[in-house]
């Protein structure tokens, strides 16, 4: 590995630095691609067609960076086909989709904070299977799940003591709420072959020369989803256990 070779990694450095400085992600990604290609000695344009024989920006027999960008983008536009579903989803939202989903969440019956969070994680996975994208933290966790958890926690505590909940415990409940949303969202979304996660894997692997089956991607992610539910349940059960111990210690 010689030094000029290592400069090819500057694209990765550009991504890291660009994202750290919160520059527009699209701009950072494209800049990284072009810089990396140029350092690797790729021409800007392919040497056929309009640019035939042009020095500097073409090289005989090599695909240009801009051509590559266009080809890859066009090939991978299937990843964002979900755009065609937006009018239908928007219409459903206008006529109460979110409100109705919130009703479902409100109807979750669970006596303790931990159990509520397990049910919410499962709800999130169900949404993933159905290919429904939600911005869970602002739309569900903050307005619905967290107040329900507080209610459950108070009910549990008030049975034995009138003291209000200690701040540290509320902090833990808040963290667990966000975690439940993230666990369900991250692992559940790959159960739908039409959400961008699966389509990204499909597109990237195709670019690398391997055509994989969308359904086998879903199949092979299932064990990890099951494990995520079990681990989440253990963590939320520990939260309940801690609370019971605290209440028991008070008496």
């Amino acid at each position: 590995m010689n030094i000029p070779e290592l400069f090819k990694l500057s694209g990765i450095a550009i991504v890291i630095i660009g994202l750290a400085f919160r520059l527009r992600t699209t701009l950072v990604v494209v800049t990284a691609g072009i810089v990396t290609g140029l350092i690797a000695g790729l021409p800007l344009f392919s040497g056929d067609g309009v640019f035939q024989g042009l020095p500097l920006i073409t090289k005989p027999g090599q695909e240009g960076i801009i051509n590559m960008l266009g080809r890859a983008f066009a090939d991978n536009r299937l990843m964002i086909l979900f755009i065609i579903t937006l009018p239908a989803i928007g219409l459903a939202e206008r006529y109460g989709l979110q409100e109705q989903a919130a009703n479902l969440v409100r109807r979750m019956k669970a006596a303790t904070v931990g159990r509520l969070l397990v049910v919410y994680q499962l709800f999130r996975i169900l949404m993933g299977i159905l290919g429904i994208r939600l911005s869970g933290h602002p739309a569900f966790v903050r307005p619905l799940v967290f107040p329900m958890c507080l209610g459950a926690a108070e009910a549990t505590a008030r049975a034995k003591t009138v003291d209000s909940l200690p701040a540290a415990e509320i902090e833990q409940i808040k963290a667990a709420n966000s975690a439940s949303e993230n666990y369900g969202n991250f692992y559940g979304q790959n159960l739908s072959p039409v959400l961008p996660g699966i389509l990204l894997v499909y597109g990237v692997m195709k670019g690398l020369g391997y055509t994989v089956n969308l359904w086998s991607l879903v199949l092979f992610t299932t064990p990890i989803v099951v494990i995520s539910v079990i681990l989440g349940a253990i963590q939320f059960w520990l939260l309940d256990l801690k609370e019971r111990r605290r209440l028991a210690a008070k008496h």
Binding site: I12, I16, L19, T26, L27, V29, V30, G33, I34, T36, A40, I66, M68, L69, G70, R71, F73, A74, R77, L78, L81, I84, L86, P87, A88, I89, G90, L91, E93, R94, Y95, G96, L97, E99, Q100, L130, I132, H137, F146, E171, K174, S178, N182, N185, N190, S192, V194, P196, L200, G203, V204, M205, G207, L208, Y210, T211, F220, T221, P223, I224
Partner: protein
């Protein structure tokens, strides 16, 4: 025979691309006519170009598409995509909902999307066609079916549907084009042999052909790289080209689907542990008014480390089985 001809002609990927392109053109027009938005020209142009790429992407010379992509990125780069209200700065994105008595029937509209998608995949399988194409073409048509069902159920108007669709599209903004951009980055990295470079580096640390150690390098590398990037989608093309394919898929001839999807979720474990993924880990602490900005990350870390270990084990076991 006839069925095959119809499927190949009408129910093709290209038809779906054209339809999606037309939806984007309508979004562009609606944005252009929105006089409240100071950035209406840039925003409209952005979606117009994306619509054109969708419609003509299969026939345009690649260099033209490439330049169009650069133009979109430039418009976004100077901050001209999105909503800047001329009159008011902060208007919450809340939808004004029409009260209705639809109840749970409203779910029928969105349920059409997976239903039609699966239906197409099954139909393509029965016709002996590619089920991948079935799912993708199905997704395209599901949008239309769901809209028709939605219009029937809600008695809303087509105009309403597109206005609401535009609202959702605008809310995501230029982030929408990231997946294909990232896939393109992966392809440029591969052509520049960045992957080979990373692979050679890892081979210096892990000599020989120890599959288990390489799986660890792959999963932990993916998690770490995602933590740095804050986004598993951005990390995946690099790790796939630099580690997964050259060090695991090629030499060991393993099932590429199996290792690829587990590598992606290994990235998700990284997402759980990084402040770079602000939307998931930092914004919620503000929403919930937490004292510790890193409270969510601290809570998620034990889960993430445990499930990362399971990624290694599951990948290794499944390779043995398949």
């Amino acid at each position: 025979m006839l069925a095959n001809a119809i499927v190949k002609g009408v129910l093709s990927l290209n038809t779906v691309y054209v339809l999606t392109g037309l939806v984007l053109l309508i979004f562009a027009i609606l944005n252009f006519k929105d006089r409240n938005n100071k950035h209406r020209h840039g925003t409209a142009l952005f979606w117009l170009i994306l619509g054109l790429i969708f419609i003509f992407g299969s026939v345009l010379p690649h260099w033209v598409t490439g330049l169009l992509v650069l133009l979109m990125v430039a418009i976004d780069g100077v901050g001209r995509v999105g909503h800047k209200r001329a009159d008011e700065v902060t208007k919450s994105g809340q939808v004004e909902q029409k009260p209705g008595s639809l109840g749970n029937r409203i779910f029928l509209v969105v349920l059409m999307i997976p239903f039609v998608t699966f239906g197409f995949a099954i139909a393509f399988r029965l016709l002996g066609l590619n089920t991948n194409d079935g799912a993708i073409v199905g997704l395209g048509f599901s949008g239309i079916v769901a809209m028709v069902v939605g219009l029937g159920l809600t008695r809303g108007t087509v105009r309403e549907a597109f206005q609401e669709g535009r609202r959702l599209n605008d809310a995501m903004g230029s982030v929408n084009i990231l997946p294909p951009l990232l896939a393109s980055l992966g392809i440029i990295f591969t052509a520049s042999k960045v992957g080979d470079l990373i692979a050679a580096g890892i081979h210096k640390i892990i000599p020989g052909q120890n599959l288990f150690l390489l799986i660890i390098a792959n999963c932990v590398g993916m998690a770490l790289f995602t933590m740095v990037m804050g986004n598993s989608f951005a990390a995946f093309p690099v790790i796939a080209a630099g580690v997964l394919v050259p060090l695991i898929v090629k030499p060991f001839g393993v099932n590429p689907a199996l290792v690829a999807i587990i590598t992606l979720t290994a990235g998700s474990t990284g997402t759980l542990m990084t402040p770079m993924a602000a939307n998931f880990n930092i914004v919620p602490t503000a929403l919930l008014d937490m004292r510790d900005q890193y409270g969510v990350i601290k809570y998620q870390a034990p889960f993430a480390l445990t499930i990362l270990a399971f990624h290694v084990i599951v990948m290794w076991l499944l390779i043995r089985m398949f």
